[in-house]
Symmetry: C2
Subunit: 214 residues, 2 copies
DNA sequence: GTCTATAGCTAGATAGAC
DNA sequence: GTCTATCTAGCTATAGAC
């Protein structure tokens, strides 16, 4: 079946908001790309800010759909962390605009004047996901399965590594020498990120004590 | 001595571009914050895009000022990587808008219509810095000092972890429970990021072989 | 649910006095 | 080097016919 107008609008709006941000996109442009007149767009979404929030909610749902199920798994912390990281990477690697929109939410304040209904809720859901990662690391540190790191800092690094990579567009393609969103690249990054979290970069043969200065 | 108009403009423009992006900031707003009329601003910068490029150039210089000197150091790869990561973190932690502007450059395409002079050059300088990190990791993999990772993917993770953290604003403050840019937080993150790159998250006592599934 | 028409405003940029 | 005044074009949003 062909998509409803509402779905078509969300689709093109997501692509454009991801590329140029809230302020950089006009309602006229979105309407045209969706094959509608501008006024018809305001029939489906009462304001530009409401459209943005609707786009953001879809993105958050996409990520939650992957990550939430992994949080109720059993097993040791390392295994659950692996599963959660896999899910996060998959959710970002699956759709080329997810990471960019998430990053904008994390990094930009304001943008939409006079916070519209739903924005705070969407941000809270992102916060909740982040807190799940922090809790996991804290648990691992408590049971001594992970080293006594600063869990909040490690989670910041993890989020940055995961989200930035899939938001890096042309820059990322140039660094990799191939498309970030190719199936092989996504699989490689999933592996590489878990490996980095597990045991860093040093060769196992030289790991880790003899390289620690003090 | 008090700052020239040009310096004052660059200062306020950087703060606003970092917060809301190129399209989200008006010349009127910048002028007012700099204590000038809008037309005076166009006397100093021939267009909004030219102003943005000037802001970006300052940011790139700030990062180069920290990182470039570390690239000519001697010693083993792990030591040089530590020095480069320290420099990167310091350059981002020193000024609260550096990371956000760098992130926008890495993540956003287009924005400024019909690329103004200097933009391509600034992007090339960022590329060159990234390539230095890739080269360092490649060298370490060649001498077996680092495990045979995918250097490009590892660098993507490193950049994301470093840049995102200092761009994460209120979200980062909430995750940490204290300001991202406090002196202690910057020092902690510098340490944590190096530690993560060196040996990951697992406890040294359980590291790394016995946790690898295959 | 889609359209045309338009209101009301702000944007980037320019002209020219001082 | 700063200003006021102005141009053109874009914006979000609304009114109301069909």
């Amino acid at each position: 079946m062909e998509p409803s107008s509402r779905e078509k609008i969300l689709e093109v709006a997501e692509a454009r908001f991801a590329q140029r941000g809230f302020a950089g996109v006009g309602m006229r442009e979105v309407a045209q790309a969706a094959g509608l007149g501008k006024s018809s767009l305001f029939h489906h979404f009462e304001s530009k800010a409401a459209l943005y929030v609707a786009v953001l909610e879809r993105v958050v749902e996409r990520i939650e759909g992957h990550v939430l199920p992994t949080l109720s798994l059993g097993g040791n912390v390392a295994g659950r962390l692996d599963a959660a990281v896999d899910a996060l990477v998959d959710s970002l690697g699956e759709h080329p605009t997810t990471a960019r929109l998430l990053l904008r939410t994390l990094v930009e304040d304001d943008q939409l004047g006079s916070e519209p209904a739903g924005l705070v809720a969407a941000e809270a859901r992102v916060h909740s996901l982040i807190n799940a990662f922090v809790g996991l690391l804290r648990e691992g540190a408590g049971t001594n399965e992970l080293r006594a790191a600063a869990p909040a800092h490690a989670v910041q690094a993890l989020i940055g590594a995961a989200v930035y990579h899939f938001a890096s567009g042309d820059f990322g393609d140039a660094v990799l020498g191939r498309p970030v969103f190719s199936a092989e690249s996504v699989a490689s990054y999933r592996h590489e990120l878990k490996q980095l979290l597990r045991s860093g970069l040093l060769s196992p043969s030289r790991a880790p004590k003899e390289n620690l200065p003090s």
